[in-house]
C-alpha cells in the first residue's frame, strides 16, 4: 500500500499546497469554508435536549387500524375503538410536547415516503434537518408532527428535485395516510419557511459526506477499496433516524460515518487519510471518537440480521367493497356434517373393488370392526394383501 501512504504523506505536506492537484486542493478549501458555516444550520441544542427528555407517555393499545369499508358493523366497532384511543392519547400525550421517540418515528416515515416517491437522499437529509430545526425552536403538540414532517419533506423536495419528479401534494397526503388537507399543508409550509428563514442550500452532513468521499477518491488510486457513496449515504440515513445524531456537527458526523466504515473494513491506509483530513480541518479528536462510538452502535442495529417487527398496526389497509365482501365470504364456517373417523382396520372388508386400490397398502386380515362379518371375508384377499 505504498501508494496510499504516499498519498497521506502528500496530504501531510499540504501546508505548501503545491504538490496536490487542483481538484483536491479545491475540495479541501470547500470543506474549510463549509465548516465555517455549518453552525448556522444546526438545530438548537436546548430544544433537542428537551425533546430527548420528554417522556413518551403513550398508551400502547394494540388496536389494529384495519378499516373495511361498507361493512357497517365492523366500521362502527372500529370507530368506537378509535374514539377511545383518541381520548386516551389526547389526555396523556398532548400535554407533553414532542418526544424523541415521536420524532424518530416520524423520520422513519419520511424515509419510507422519500424512498417510495423516488426522492434523492439529499431531499431526505434536508427534510430531517428542517424538521429538527423547527422542532427545536417551537413547542408543538405531537398531533401536529405528521403535518410538519410532510411539509418539511415537500419543501425539501421543491428545493432539491426537478419539477417533474415531485408528485402533487394530495398524492403525498394520501400515501402518507395523513388526516390533514392540502391547505393545511401549504399553511404549515409557510410557517416553517418563516420560522427558519430558509436559505436555498442548507449545509448538511450529506454535503460533507460527498466532499469527503470525493477527496478520498481523488487521493487514492485503489478505487476498489473505497465503499460506494450509496452505501455511505444509506448508513447516514440510518443514523439520522435517531435524534441523538442531530446534536452532532454535520462535518463530524459525516467523518464518523466514513471512519466507522473504514474501521469495519479494516483498511488502515484509508484510516490514515482520514486522520490527515481530520487534522487539516481541525476536528477535535475526542469529539470524533465520541460520535464514532455512537455510529458504531447504530450500525450494528441497522445491519443486524434480526428484523425489526414491522409495525403494521399503524398502517391502514383500505380495500375496495368487492374485495371486502370477498374476504368476509371466505371465512366459511365449519360444515355441519360431523366427522366420520376412518377405521383403524382396513377397508378390504368390502366384498370387492379392492383390486383398484394401491398396492402399498398393507392390508391385514385383522381386527374386523363391530359390523364386519368374518364369513364375508374371502381368504384370497388376505394372501393378496400380504407382501
Amino acid at each position: 500500500m505504498c501508494t496510499n501512504s504516499s498519498c497521506s504523506k502528500r496530504l501531510a505536506r499540504m501546508q505548501d499546497l503545491q504538490d496536490l492537484d487542483n481538484e483536491t486542493c479545491w475540495l479541501v478549501k470547500e470543506l474549510k469554508s463549509y465548516i465555517a458555516q455549518e453552525a448556522d444550520f444546526l438545530p438548537r441544542e436546548t430544544g433537542l435536549n428537551i425533546m430527548e427528555s420528554a417522556a413518551e407517555v403513550g398508551i400502547a393499545i394494540p388496536v389494529t387500524q384495519f378499516y373495511i369499508l361498507y361493512l357497517p358493523f365492523s366500521s362502527v366497532l372500529m370507530c368506537y375503538f378509535d374514539v377511545l384511543l383518541w381520548c386516551l392519547t389526547f389526555i396523556f400525550q398532548n400535554h407533553n410536547g414532542v418526544s424523541a421517540k415521536c420524532r424518530n418515528a416520524k423520520v422513519e416515515d419520511l424515509w419510507s415516503l422519500a424512498s417510495f416517491f423516488g426522492f434523492s437522499t439529499q431531499t431526505f437529509v434536508l427534510a430531517v434537518n428542517l424538521l429538527d430545526r423547527f422542532l427545536a425552536i417551537m413547542k408543538v403538540q405531537p398531533k401536529h408532527v405528521p403535518c410538519i414532517g410532510v411539509s418539511c419533506l415537500h419543501i425539501a423536495a421543491k428545493m432539491v428535485e426537478d419539477e417533474c419528479n415531485i408528485s402533487p401534494t394530495h398524492e403525498l397526503i394520501r400515501i402518507s395516510q395523513s388526516k390533514f388537507t392540502v391547505s393545511d399543508l401549504s399553511r404549515m409550509e409557510k410557517i416553517i419557511s418563516e420560522k427558519l428563514n430558509l436559505e436555498l442550500k442548507a449545509i448538511t452532513a450529506l454535503t460533507f459526506l460527498h466532499l469527503y468521499h470525493a477527496v478520498i477518491v481523488s487521493l487514492t488510486s485503489e478505487r476498489g477499496e473505497i465503499p460506494s457513496i450509496e452505501r455511505l449515504e444509506a448508513q447516514l440515513k440510518a443514523c439520522l433516524c435517531q435524534l441523538i445524531f442531530s446534536k452532532a456537527k454535520p462535518s463530524v458526523l459525516a467523518l464518523s460515518v466514513i471512519t466507522q466504515e473504514f474501521d469495519a473494513l479494516q483498511s488502515l491506509a484509508m484510516l490514515e487519510i482520514v486522520q490527515e483530513l481530520q487534522r487539516h480541518l481541525k476536528i477535535v479528536d475526542s469529539e470524533l471518537l465520541y460520535w464514532r462510538g455512537l455510529v458504531a452502535k447504530c450500525m450494528t442495529e441497522y445491519s443486524s440480521s434480526e428484523c425489526n417487527k414491522p409495525d403494521n398496526k399503524k398502517l391502514v389497509w383500505i380495500v375496495s367493497r368487492r374485495t371486502a365482501q370477498n374476504l368476509h365470504a371466505n371465512h366459511f364456517s365449519v360444515p355441519e356434517l360431523p366427522t366420520i373417523p376412518e377405521g383403524s382396520w382396513d377397508e378390504s372388508e368390502s366384498e370387492d373393488s379392492c383390486e383398484d386400490m394401491s398396492c402399498e397398502e398393507d392390508s391385514l386380515c385383522g381386527s374386523p370392526g363391530s359390523d364386519a362379518e368374518g364369513a364375508f371375508f374371502p381368504s384370497e384377499f388376505c394372501n393378496q394383501g400380504r407382501k
Binding site: 417510495f116 425489526n308 403494521n312 398502517l315 383500505i318 374485495t323 360444515p335 376412518e342 368390502s350
Partner: protein, 518 residues
C-alpha cells in the same frame, strides 16, 4: 333497422286507414304482428314482413324493444317445476284403501300395519298434473308424515321384514331418471334452478329414510343386504338433481350410509372419484359437486394417520384438477376446506398441493384468480415454516405477478396478504429470499399502476419490507435505480442512433439527384 321498421309499418297502416276493429295497442311491434294476418294491404312490405314473421317465434312482450329478448324474461316464462319421467298408467285413478293410524292400533299389530303402510307408499303420483288424485296424494302425504313420526319415536318396530320393505319404498319413490336440464342455457350461477314437482312427497320420503338410518334400532348388518352397491350407485346419480333441497337431503343420506356401512366405504369413494373425474375431464356438468365435497370434507377430517397412499392419490389426481373447472365458484368454499383439511392432516403434502395450484393458475379468468388467492391465503394460514421455505420461491414469483396485475381486485387481494400476521412472520424470517423477488414489481407498480388504492396498498407493503430488512432494501433500491438509469441511457442512445440514421437517409436521398426517395 328492426327498430324502425315496425314504426314505419305502423305509419303505413295509419295512412291506409285500416280499421279492422282489432284493439290497437300503443306498442308498434304488437301492431306489426297483428297486421301479419291480413297481408293484402301491405304489398311493399311483404318481404320485410316475412322476415319479421319468421323471426318472431315468441309472443311479443314489452321487453322486446330492441329486438333482443332478455334472457331472464324468457326464462321466467318457461319456469315450471319439473317432474322426473315416470311411467304412468294413464287415466286410471289410483285408489288406496285408508288404513287405521298406527297409534290407534295395539302394539303387537303395529309392525304389520307398518309394513302395509310402507307398501301403500310405494305408489307414486304424478305431480305434473296438478288436479289428479288430490285426495290420494293427501292420504299418502299424511301416511308418510305418520311414518316419519313413528320411526322417530317408537321402539321395537323394526323387524327383519321391515328392512326390505323400507328400502323398496324409498327406492320406488326417489330413484328415477332425472329430467334433462336445458344444458345450454342453464347457468348454475345466475339462473334459478328448476325445482322438483313431487317435492311434497319426496321430502317426507327422504326425511323418513334419514330417521330410519339414524334410529337406535337400526342394524347395518341386516340392512347391508338391501342397501348395497347398486343402491348406492343410484343414490349417487341423484346428486345431479337440480333441486338444491333434494341434494341437501341426499348429502345427509349418503353421509349416514358412509358412516354406518364400512363395507361400502371404498366403493363410495371410488364412485365419487369417477364422478369427479368425469366432471373434470368429460362433461363439466354435475350439480352435486359441492354436496359431495362437503361429505368428503367430513371424511378427510376423520382420516387416520399416516395417510394412506390412496388418499394422497385422490388429492393430487382429483381434488387439484377440480380447480380447473369453469364453474369453480359454485363449490370453491367446500373444495378449499377439503384441501386445507388434507394439509392439516399431513403437512408434507403442502409442496405438491401448492405446486399443483401454481401449475393450474388461471391466466385469463380474474374471478378465478381471486378465488385462488383466497385459497392460497388459507393454506398459508396453516402452513408449517419448514414447508414454507420449500415453496417460497415459485409462490412469491406468482404473487409478484398477481400484484402487478392490471385487474385491481387481483392486485388488491394479493397485496392484502401483507395484512395477515402469520404470513408476515413467515415473510420476515425469509425476507432475504422473498424481498428480491417482490421488489422489482412492487417498485414498478408504485409508479405505474392506474388504480390509486393499489398504489396506497403498495406503500404499506414497501414500508413493511423497509422496516423488516433495511440493508437489503437499500441495496435493492440502489441496484434498481442504477438499472433503470442504464436502461434509460440505452433508450436514449437507441433514439439517437435512429435519429442519426434518419438524417443519413435524408442526406443520401438529397444528394443523388435532388429528389428525396420515398
Amino acid at each position: 333497422m328492426l327498430f324502425n321498421l315496425p314504426v314505419f309499418i305502423h305509419l303505413y297502416e295509419r295512412l291506409n286507414s285500416r280499421n279492422d276493429g282489432r284493439c290497437r295497442t300503443s306498442n308498434p311491434i304488437h301492431y306489426v304482428f297483428q297486421t301479419d294476418q291480413s297481408p293484402s294491404s301491405l304489398e311493399p312490405n311483404r318481404a320485410s314482413r316475412r322476415a319479421m314473421s319468421s323471426a318472431a317465434t315468441t309472443p311479443p312482450s314489452v321487453d322486446k324493444v330492441d329486438g333482443f329478448s332478455r334472457k331472464s324474461v324468457r326464462k321466467a316464462k318457461q319456469k315450471r317445476s319439473q317432474s322426473s319421467s315416470q311411467f304412468r298408467s294413464q287415466g286410471k285413478p289410483i285408489e288406496l284403501t285408508p288404513l287405521p293410524l298406527l297409534k290407534d292400533v295395539p302394539a303387537p299389530e303395529q309392525p304389520e300395519l307398518f309394513l302395509k303402510k310402507l307398501q301403500q307408499c310405494c305408489t307414486v303420483f304424478d305431480f305434473m298434473d296438478t288436479l289428479s288424485d288430490l285426495k290420494m296424494k293427501e292420504y299418502k302425504r299424511s301416511t308418510l308424515n305418520e311414518l316419519v313420526d313413528y320411526v322417530t319415536v317408537s321402539r321395537g318396530y323394526l323387524t327383519e321384514q321391515a328392512y326390505p320393505e323400507v328400502v323398496k319404498m324409498v327406492s320406488y319413490n326417489i330413484f328415477r331418471t332425472l329430467p334433462p336440464s336445458d344444458s345450454n342455457e342453464f347457468d348454475p350461477e345466475e339462473d334459478e334452478p328448476t325445482l322438483e314437482a313431487s317435492w311434497p312427497h319426496l321430502q317426507l320420503v327422504y326425511e323418513f329414510f334419514i330417521r330410519f338410518l339414524e334410529s337406535q334400532e337400526f342394524q347395518p348388518s341386516i340392512a347391508k343386504k338391501y342397501i348395497d352397491q347398486k343402491f348406492v350407485l343410484q343414490l349417487l346419480e341423484l346428486f345431479d338433481s337440480e333441486d338444491p333441497r333434494e341434494r341437501d337431503y341426499l348429502k345427509t343420506v349418503l353421509h349416514r350410509i358412509y358412516g354406518k356401512f364400512l363395507g361400502l366405504r371404498a366403493f363410495i369413494r371410488k364412485q365419487i372419484n369417477n364422478i369427479f373425474l368425469r366432471f373434470v375431464y368429460e362433461t363439466e356438468h354435475f350439480n352435486g359437486v359441492a354436496e359431495l365435497l362437503e361429505i368428503l370434507g367430513s371424511i378427510i377430517n376423520g382420516f387416520a394417520l399416516p395417510l394412506k397412499a390412496e388418499h394422497k392419490q385422490f388429492l393430487v389426481k382429483v381434488l387439484i384438477p377440480l380447480h380447473t373447472v369453469r364453474s369453480l365458484s359454485l363449490f370453491h368454499a367446500q373444495l378449499a376446506y377439503c384441501i386445507v383439511q388434507f394439509l392439516e392432516k399431513d403437512p408434507a403434502l403442502t409442496e405438491p398441493v401448492i405446486r399443483g395450484l401454481l401449475k393450474f393458475w388461471p391466466k385469463t379468468c380474474s374471478q378465478k384468480e381471486v378465488m385462488y388467492l383466497g385459497e392460497l391465503e388459507e393454506i398459508l394460514d396453516v402452513i408449517e415454516p419448514t414447508q414454507f421455505v420449500k415453496i417460497q420461491e415459485p409462490l412469491f414469483k406468482q404473487i409478484s405477478r398477481c400484484v402487478s396485475s392490471p385487474h385491481f381486485q387481483v392486485a388488491e387481494r394479493a397485496l392484502y396478504y401483507w395484512n395477515n400476521e402469520y404470513i408476515m412472520s413467515l415473510i420476515e424470517e425469509n425476507s432475504s429470499v422473498i424481498l428480491p423477488i417482490m421488489f422489482a414489481s412492487l417498485y414498478r407498480i408504485s409508479k405505474e399502476h392506474w388504480n390509486p388504492a393499489i398504489v396506497a396498498l403498495v406503500y404499506n407493503v414497501l414500508k413493511a419490507f423497509m422496516e423488516m430488512n433495511s440493508t437489503l432494501f437499500d441495496e435493492l433500491t440502489a441496484t434498481y435505480k442504477s438499472d433503470r438509469q442504464r436502461e434509460k441511457k440505452k433508450e436514449k442512445e437507441r433514439e439517437e442512433l435512429w435519429k442519426k440514421l434518419g438524417d443519413l437517409e435524408l442526406k443520401r436521398g438529397l444528394r443523388s439527384d435532388g429528389i428525396i426517395p420515398t
